[in-house]
């Protein structure tokens, strides 16, 4: 198994996650790696990106000098609104999230476990940034995909049997996409659906902190 640079890993994950998008989907992309997914939307697919600070129709960053201080994404970075976009207040924004009107959210993780539990908002004893909109997103979106590097930098697993960190939400994660594999959260446990080119199921299992259900044939990730 070749060693990938962090930036390569992120691109692989974002590209594979983008393949989960369907035409017409309303999607919220978390800050960080998930934001990259917007760069790899497959051709012929149009999605409506929801920005929880108050609009749908999030577009690309404006050219330098073209920024509108009132148009920012949920990370307060300059953004744009595509034609057909719509602005609203925070109550409506979270009604959209909580009410099941997002087809999909793609978020990062500190830990994710075999029950579909997610931890991505705090590390006790260290600084607590706050959950922002993450708890609502994970509970509210129809489908929750975790897009994350497979392990921490020291190689310790982020995909575990039980999350040790405080949860963002319980039992809401549907799919996990890493640079090594695509893993589905099922009632029976974590089902290995795809492995990256050149990676064996056994290698994925070795880097995972929970038992994977490994079918006889596992597809290769298209990236």
């Amino acid at each position: 198994m070749a060693t990938l640079e962090p930036q390569d890993k992120r691109i692989i994950i974002a590209r594979r996650a983008a393949r989960e998008l369907q035409d017409g989907y309303v999607v919220n992309l978390g800050i960080g790696l998930p934001t990259l997914v917007a760069n790899y939307v497959p051709e012929g697919i149009k999605v409506w990106l929801h920005s929880e600070n108050g609009f749908v129709g999030l577009g690309p960053a404006p050219a330098p000098g073209e920024e509108d201080p009132d148009v920012v994404n949920a990370g307060a970075q300059p953004a744009s609104i595509i034609p057909g976009g719509a602005c609203f207040d925070s109550c409506m924004s979270f009604a959209i999230i909580r009410g099941g009107h997002l087809d999909l959210t793609i978020l990062g993780a500190l830990e994710v476990d075999e029950k579909g539990n997610l931890a991505n908002w705090m590390v006790p004893g260290r600084i607590v940034p706050g959950m922002g909109g993450a708890m609502d997103l994970v509970v509210g979106a129809r489908r929750v995909i975790i897009a994350t590097e497979h392990t921490l930098k020291d190689g310790s697993p982020k995909i575990v049997r039980r999350c040790q960190l405080p949860l963002t939400a319980a039992g809401e994660v549907d799919l996990i996409i890493t640079e090594l594999a695509v893993i589905e959260v099922t009632r029976e446990g974590l089902l290995l659906k795809e492995v990256a080119p050149g990676v064996t199921p056994r290698e994925v299992q070795a880097r995972t902190g929970a038992s994977l259900i490994i079918p006889d044939t596992v597809a290769t990730m298209e990236i």
Binding site: G24, V26, V56, P83, A86, C87, F88, G99
Partner: protein
């Protein structure tokens, strides 16, 4: 992206026995063309969720007269003697809900809330069979979400992305119902190209709208120039 269809195509998606929300307040802001098509299709045994049953021959009154309904959930039926007659004859079940509670229950469904606590109805007949919770010494009724299979709403303008703009008191229950049904059909006076409505002027984001039925109506300018 909402799809523009005919009224007939739109209501063909509504099956007998479904729960249907209709926007409007005493027939103002009601999608009359969709209701006509629904009557024309011979719909039966619908449960209607709406503020009222308007007047004979108008708005929801058409559904009542045509015998499309088995149940009405509304805040008021006093303006329609046919509704009252059908209720008396037990052809029609009528459930009355305070208007603000009706709005909030629909909103709860659309906003993913499990319910809301309202002081409205405390100490009245409405309280019966309801859970009462005391918060900070005041009593509230627990009111649960009201969902529908289909919402039929009326707006003035749409763009092709389904973004809607309402006019004056014709707004009423339309925006909240657009959030609370599995299938949302909007009757609009006119459909404009995507991007014609300034994002700040959108009253219902297009992501809520599945089908649009355009009825013609008055000509309007390009709203991009509106501010």
């Amino acid at each position: 992206m909402a799809i523009v269809v005919t009224a007939g195509e739109a209501v063909s998606r509504i099956e007998d026995g479904m729960t249907v929300m209709t926007g409007g307040f005493l027939g103002v802001g009601t999608p009359e063309v969709l209701l006509d098509a629904l009557v024309g299709r011979g719909a039966k045994k619908l449960t209607l969720i709406s503020n009222d049953t308007a007047f004979p021959g108008r708005g929801n009154g058409k559904l009542v007269e045509a015998g499309c309904l088995k149940k009405v959930i509304a805040s008021h039926i006093g303006t329609n003697p046919i509704t009252q007659q059908q209720m008396k004859e037990k052809i029609l079940e009528v459930v009355l809900i305070p208007q603000g509670t009706l709005a909030e229950r629909i909103r709860a469904a659309g906003a993913g809330l499990g319910g809301i606590l309202t002081p409205t109805g405390v100490g009245t007949e409405i309280e019966k069979e309801k859970t009462v919770l005391t918060i900070d010494g005041r009593r509230y009724l627990l009111e649960v979400p009201l969902y529908a299979d289909v919402a039929l709403i009326k707006a003035h303008l749409a763009d092709e992305a389904g973004n809607l703009v309402y006019k004056r008191s014709a707004r009423n229950f339309n925006p909240v119902m657009a959030m609370a049904a599995s299938l949302v059909i909007a009757q609009v006076d006119r459909v404009l190209p995507v991007g014609s409505i300034d994002p700040d002027q959108v009253m219902t984001p297009g992501i809520f709208i599945d089908l649009i039925v355009q009825t013609g109506g008055e000509q309007v300018g390009d709203l991009r120039t509106a501010r």
